[in-house]
């Protein structure tokens, strides 16, 4: 019996220690919560991001992982690593329908029917951002573009963009099946994202090469020549491909009309 009484006393002792420990924890935790309330707020925000990241990861694991690998680390010969590319790159590639890529080729073509909604693209962007940070579009882009200088943008466009996208944004060929797409029907955000992240064959124009203001100037110029230019000089622009379509037009329209005229005139005798 003495042994059992001794055991019971031991239990009581342990329970007491646990109670003291719990009490101490509650006091410390309470004190901590009193003195650092911001930590709780931070945690709440982290949870919100976490939910976007988790949703992004779910999409990533079903649609991107086969080429870009586990945790965006990339797979040799299939897809590059996405760590550090940032949400701007992800949203550009996904929102323009370039990603997910239907097949490996010279270049991912853009599509009018993107696989993911803009919300889903944002989730994917959040996930990639979570993996390694990277470039993002400034929140005040709209204001930047509104105050942009179109003339300055034209100058920058001709030096930096025209050699691939053409003098009027009509697009152009690059080597081995790659191409610089036409700039018609693209949003300000997409142009900004493309300049910032250099998708496909495009070089990256980081903020130390073109400041956000200069990028906004270029956006304003591109939107002007693509949308607002009232095409002085004709109803038809011939696609703005330069003299090759003009040469086609003189034979198909001018010469053809006049050859028919010669037949008509010579026939009337």
């Amino acid at each position: 019996m003495a042994a059992s009484a001794k055991r019971r006393r031991g239990w009581r002792k342990r329970l007491g220690a646990l109670a003291r420990f719990t009490g101490a924890l509650v006091i410390v935790g309470g004190l901590y919560s009193v003195f650092s309330p911001s930590l709780y707020a931070q945690e709440a925000e982290d949870n919100a991001i976490d939910s976007e990241v988790v949703k992004g990861q779910e999409l990533y694991d079903t649609s991107c992982i086969s080429c870009h690998g586990d945790d965006g680390e990339g797979i040799e010969g299939r897809g590059p690593s996405l760590i550090g590319v940032g949400s701007a790159a992800v949203e550009f590639q996904v929102n323009t329908g370039r990603m997910p890529m239907a097949a490996q080729g010279a270049q991912a073509p853009d599509s009018d029917y993107p696989v993911f909604t803009e919300e889903e693209a944002a989730w994917l962007g959040a996930y990639i951002e979570y993996l390694g940070g990277g470039a993002t579009v400034p929140d005040d882009l709209e204001a930047l573009v509104e105050n942009a200088n179109v003339g300055e943008g034209g100058d920058l466009y001709r030096v930096n963009c025209g050699s691939c996208h053409g003098y009027a944004g009509g697009g152009g060929a690059l080597s081995s099946g790659a191409h610089a797409p036409a700039l018609t029907g693209v949003s300000d955000e997409e142009i900004y994202q493309a300049m910032l992240t250099g998708p496909q064959n495009m070089p990256v124009f980081a903020d130390n090469e073109l400041t956000p203001e200069q990028k906004a100037d270029i956006i304003a110029y591109v939107q002007y020549i693509v949308n607002d230019d009232r095409d002085p000089g004709g109803v038809f622009t011939l696609g703005r491909y330069g003299p090759s379509t003009e040469g086609l037009a003189i034979f198909l329209v001018g010469m053809t009309a006049l050859l028919l005229t010669t037949l008509w005139i010579a026939g009337k005798s």
Partner: protein, 526 residues
Amino acid sequence: MKRRNGSSDSLLTKAGGELDDRFKLAGPARVLFNKVFPDHWSFLLGEIALFSFILLLLSGTFLALFFEPSMVEVTYHGAYVPLQGIEMSRAYESALDLSFEVRGGLFMRQMHHWATLLFMASILIHMLRIFFTGAFRAPRETNWMIGILLFWVGFFEGFFGYSLPDDGLSGTGLRIMEGMTASVPFIGPWASAALFRGQFPGTDVISMIYIIHVFIFPLILLALITVHVALVFIQKHTQWPGPGRTEHNVVGFRMFPNYVMKQVGFMLFIWGVIAAMAGLFQINPIWLFGPYEVSVVSSASQPDFYVMYLDGLIRLFPAWEFRVPPYFTLPAVFWPAIAGMGLSVLLPLVYPALERRFTKDRGHHNLLQRPRDNPGRTSLGVMVVVFWTVGAVSGGNDVFAEKFDISLNAMTWAGRIGIVILPIIAYYLTYRICLGLQQHDREVLAHGLETGILMRDPNGRFYEVHQPLAEPDEHGHTELEYNGWVVPKKMNRVGALPPTDRGFFKSIEEPSENGAARDEIESGKH
């Protein structure tokens, strides 16, 4: 009022008489008015070039009133918003002002450019007509050579013209021309320095080519065209073989009134087409190219179409550089650009002499040949056309690649292989087609026309009934000579069917009385 002596004398006749009394015009005018021209649609192609040229002189004069070939640096403050505040040359600024602020200026500029393209295109088409019909043969070799020179003077005149506005595209073109000039062995660098005053087209070249463009070359063109047309008058126009036409006569219409009326109408029509194109189609939008800067080269930088085949040859030619270090380097661009252009000038010039030598044909020819009747020459011509076309398409191969989703490298290789293989295939195919057409002509002459009526004889054999073109011999054959002109190939050409209704929108012929009666029967009135 007193009735004048000789009532048929109108005021015009009287004025003509007075003029003739003073200037002795009646004789030459009679000769001119009675000059006979043969009538065929293909004889009107040269006129397209002639009348485009007149419009070029007129529109160019208008442009010269407003364009300033000055390379002074200015800051743009004109009407075109995206260029405001940009530094540019006065030449570019005045071209912009001409486009946006001079009333009708842009229309005139576009008309000038479209007329240029039409001028060069019609020279090419006209040249093909002359070549394929053998119209360049003796005694007209000189006029053929003048025509070739006209093309090349027009080629450089056009190049200088689109170099003048000092925009991004024209500066790129000048830079390429500078590189081509510099590639000539030994004299290249000096020639380039003398013409362009530096590696990149600088401040001197625009004012220099301005005076060439508006004065020297137009004068040369005008002189060559005058001689060209005068030679057609003196040597008389060639004509197709046919009834009553020989090597020693010209069958056709008098200059006045028939031919003059047609020509005036045609001229107005040509100007109308150019004006319509100038109003409808944007051409050379210099405001989009921006001012010329050495670092600015747009994609799809092509020359105008008549230069494009040379650009294509440069793009296709492999990068074979010949070096004797350290003394001598012959860049790859020399072969397509300088050698290619040299051959393009030389070979057409000497072609009539070559053909005379190889065919030993020393006669004078006023009658034309149908292309099928000289298959060797025709095939050679098609060969050159295919070569030129592959070159021209390759000149725009980046635009093709981009718009048709083809790899640019694949376009280049297709051009390299195509420019060697396709002309050979074209030669063979054309030769066979010519022989086939010849054979069919002979067949119709010997056996008659296919009527489309199938018959079956008692043995069960099917055969097509042929309509002989003359009284056949006992074997059903006709001995008819081929005279170098169209052989009828269809029954309605020999009167089997009534002629088609005349009239543009509706028939201009009254229905016959029988026809009217039939209508009444069909409508149930009887």
